[in-house]
Symmetry: C2
C-alpha cells in the first residue's frame, strides 16, 4: 500500500486530481502537486478520458455459487431448489476456494470492492478473498431445520470460526449468519443474536423472500416472518436482511424503526419469480438502510452490481407506474455508500478521509457518448466492462482489466465444477 495520485480525472461532474495516501482518500482538488517527501513512493495515474467512482458494495451473495452458473435454467422453483441443493451437498474446501476466487475476480472486474457472503467452508472463501484483495464479510451459517444436534454443532462452529477470524486479513471480516426464520430454531436464533451482540458482530439473514414463506409463517406463527423475528427482539442496526420482498406496512415500520439494513436482490427475485414489488421508497422513508445485492450466481447468473442497479431502477419505475421513482443519486448510494454504512465504514463515496475503495471508469467510448448525464450513462447505458482499474483499501487490485491469476482460476473452475455433477 503506497500512495496514488490520479491526475485530471472526471468525478461528480468536474475534472480534477485525487490523492490516495495509504488506504484513504487524502485530498481532492483541481490540481495537486506532488511534494518531495511523497513523490518517492507515489504512483501517478493519468485520468484523462476516465472517471472515478466509488466501488460497489454487493450486500448479499453466496460467492462460490459461481460453480453453478447456468446449472438449472427455466425450471419451476421446487425443481430448481432440489437441483441446487443436490449440487451443494457435494461442495468441498477446494471447490469453495476456487468458486469464491472466481467470484472475487468477477466482482472486482465489475467494480465491486466489498461483498457480503453467506456460504459454507468459510476459511476457503476467506483465503480466496484475501488473495484477491477485496473487502469481505463471511459467516458460519445457522441452518438447523429444527435438528437440535445440528443446532448445537453450529453454535460450536460459530464460536470456533469467530476465534479463527481474529487471524484473518485486515479486509476480511466475520459476521453471524442465520439462513432464515423458517430454517433455524427459535432458540438458535436467540443464541446467535446474543452471540453477535456480545461480540459486536453483524447478522446476515434472509427474510420474506417468497410469498410461500410469508403464508407459511402466518399459518405456523400467526404472524409475518418479519414480526416473528421482531417478537424475539431480533432487530437492530446490526441486522442485514436480504430480500424482504413480502412486507406489510407494520413490517416496513419495524425494519425502519430498528435501522435494519435491507438488501434488495432484484435479478434473483425476478428470475425465481419470488416477487418484485419491493418497497424501496417506503423502507427508506421509514428509516431502513437500503442496499443492493446480486444474490448467488445459481439464480442471478452473474455478480454484476451495475446490472443489479439498472434492473432495480427499471422495475421500481415500472410497477409504481412512475418514471420519477428511483432517482439516480439514491440508486448509486444504495449500490455503494449504504453498504459501507451497514458495516460502520466511511466508504463508498469520493470524499477526503473516506476509504480508498474506488473504480476508474473508461468513458472514452460509445456508452458515454454524448455524456450529458454521467450517472445515467453509467447505470443505464454502459456495461461493467467499462471498469478499467480498481483500487481497494488503497491497493490497485485490477489494472487495465488485468487481475493476477485470473486465467488459472478460470481453468481450475472449468475442471473442478464437474465434481458437483458426479452421480
Amino acid at each position: 500500500m503506497g500512495n496514488i495520485l490520479i491526475k485530471n480525472i472526471y468525478r461528480c461532474g468536474k475534472r480534477g486530481d485525487v490523492l490516495i495516501c495509504q488506504n484513504k482518500i487524502a485530498k481532492i482538488a483541481e490540481s495537486i502537486e506532488l511534494k518531495e517527501n511523497l513523490s518517492r513512493d507515489c504512483e501517478v495515474i493519468d485520468g484523462t478520458g476516465k472517471a472515478l467512482i466509488p466501488g460497489f458494495a454487493n450486500m448479499h451473495t453466496h460467492a462460490a455459487m459461481t460453480l453453478m452458473r447456468g446449472a438449472e435454467e427455466d425450471s419451476k422453483l421446487k425443481h430448481w431448489l432440489k437441483s441446487i441443493w443436490a449440487l451443494e451437498a457435494k461442495l468441498d474446501e477446494e471447490l469453495v476456494y476456487y468458486g469464491t476466487k472466481l467470484a472475487c475476480i468477477e466482482m472486482i472486474k465489475s467494480g465491486t470492492t466489498l461483498f457480503n457472503d453467506q456460504y459454507f467452508f468459510t476459511r476457503a472463501a476467506v483465503k480466496a478473498a484475501e488473495e484477491i484483495g477485496i473487502r469481505s464479510w463471511h459467516s458460519q451459517v445457522f441452518l438447523d431445520l429444527g435438528n437440535n444436534m445440528a443446532a448445537m454443532k453450529q453454535r460450536e462452529n460459530c464460536i470456533a470460526e469467530y476465534e479463527i477470524s481474529r487471524g484473518w486479513g485486515e479486509l476480511n471480516n466475520f459476521e453471524v449468519a442465520i439462513h432464515a426464520p423458517y430454517t433455524v430454531t427459535k432458540e438458535n436464533i436467540i443464541w446467535a443474536k446474543e452471540f453477535a451482540a456480545k461480540n459486536n458482530l453483524k447478522i446476515h439473514i434472509h427474510i420474506a423472500e417468497t410469498d410461500h414463506e410469508r403464508l407459511d409463517s402466518l399459518r405456523k406463527f400467526k404472524c409475518t416472518p418479519t414480526q416473528y423475528l421482531n417478537e424475539l427482539g431480533f432487530y437492530g442496526p446490526n441486522i442485514i436482511a436480504a430480500h424482504c420482498v413480502w412486507l406489510d406496512e407494520n413490517d416496513i415500520q419495524t425494519l425502519g424503526k430498528n435501522r435494519v439494513t435491507v438488501v434488495h436482490n432484484i435479478n434473483s427475485n425476478l428470475k425465481l419469480s419470488s416477487g418484485y414489488k419491493f418497497k424501496f421508497r417506503e423502507l427508506a422513508d421509514a428509516g431502513a438502510n437500503l442496499c443492493i445485492g446480486t444474490d448467488g450466481v445459481a439464480s442471478s447468473n452473474n455478480l454484476d452490481m451495475l446490472e443489479a442497479m439498472k434492473t432495480t431502477a427499471l422495475v421500481q419505475k415500472a410497477w409504481r407506474k412512475d418514471p420519477s421513482a428511483m432517482p439516480l443519486a439514491e440508486l448509486l448510494a444504495a449500490g455503494s455508500e449504504n453498504g459501507y454504512k451497514a458495516f460502520d465504514l466511511n466508504g463508498g463515496k469520493i470524499e477526503e478521509g473516506a476509504l480508498a475503495d474506488l473504480c476508474i471508469i473508461d468513458i472514452d467510448n460509445i456508452y458515454f457518448t454524448p455524456n450529458i448525464n454521467f450517472n445515467a450513462n453509467l447505470i443505464y447505458s454502459a456495461h461493467s466492462d467499462c471498469v478499467e482499474s480498481v483500487i481497494c483499501n488503497g491497493n490497485i487490485v485490477m489494472r487495465n482489466r488485468e487481475i493476477k491469476g485470473e486465467k488459472e482460476v478460470i481453468e481450475n473452475v472449468r475442471k473442478l465444477y464437474k465434481k458437483l455433477f458426479i452421480k
Copy 2:
C-alpha cells in the same frame, strides 16, 4: 465479399467448421478442408475459445436518438415527451447522419446485424447504415396529427422516398411507417396501407404502448387501438407493430390470426412506466411473430439486444410468477430469427443456406465459466462486450471489436449533439 472459413468454433453445443461463401452459410461440418479453387479467396478464422451465434435483429428503434442518451432522466412521462420533442425539433441531416452512425456502430458492437428504424431524415440514416454495412429498414414516417396539409405532404414524401430507395445499397431497405393510430388520420392510414400493399412493403407502427393511449381510444373510437386499426382492414403479415403492451384477449387473437409481427421493447416500457405485463406467450400461441427491440436511446439508454432479451425473460418470469416462462430457445429466436422472418429473410440462424449475419463470441472468460449452458451464459451472465467479431451479409464488419471510423464518429457526436440544446 469473399469467402470465410471459421475453424473449430463452438455452435449449438458442438465444435466444428463453418464455411461462408458470398453472403450465405455454404457448409457446416465437423471439419471442412479448403479446396484449391476456394483457397485463393478465402479468409480462415480460428474459432478456438469462441462461439458462433446468429446476429440479433433489433426490430424497433429510432437510431439517431443516440444523440439524446441521458438527456432526460427520472422525470414524469409528460415532461419527458415535451423535453425530447423539443430536442427533435432541432434535428438536421448532419445530426441524424452522425446519430445513426453511432447507433450502427453500437449495434454492431453488441451483435446486432439487422435493425428496423423509424425516424426522420431517412437519407442521412441510410447513408450511415450503408457505410457501416449493417442490414436495415428505414421509412418516411406518417405523423400528421390530423393536419390535412401535413398528411398530403407526407404522402408525397413517401412516394418520393420510395422512388429514391431503389438506389439504396443491397442491405438497406424502405418500408412505410405510421407513427401510431392516434397521431395519423384514418385516411392517411388507409392510404399508407394501400401504398404498402401495392409496392409489397412492410409497415412499421407503434400500437397500444400506454394505458393512456388505450383509454383515449376507448373514449374516442369506442374500441381499443388494436381494434380501431382492425376495422380499417389494416392487419396482415406485413405489419410490424411495436409495443402492444395493452391488449385484451380479442386484440391478441386479431394480431395472431393476421400473423402480425409484434415487437416487445421491455427496457423502454419499464423505464417510461408504460407497462410490463406483455402477453408474449398468448401472442405467440395465437400466431403472431414475436420479436424484440430496444426502442430509441432517449428511453432505453442503449441499443443492447442481449440486455433487452435478458430483461424480457426476467420480467416475463416475474409477473407470471413462473420461472419456467420464457425458455431460452424461444427467447433467442425472438432476438434473431423471428426478426429475419418478419422481412421474409432466411437468416438469424446457423443453417446451410441462411444469410451469413453472424457473431463470433469470446467465451474464454468468467461469464462463460463454467459453460454448463451456453445460451444461459450468453443471455443471463455475459455482456454484449463478449461479441468479438461480426459478419453481416458475408462481410466482416467488426474484427476484434474494431470498427473503422468509430473514433471519428464519437468525436463528431460529442461536438454536434450540443446543437440540440441551443436555445
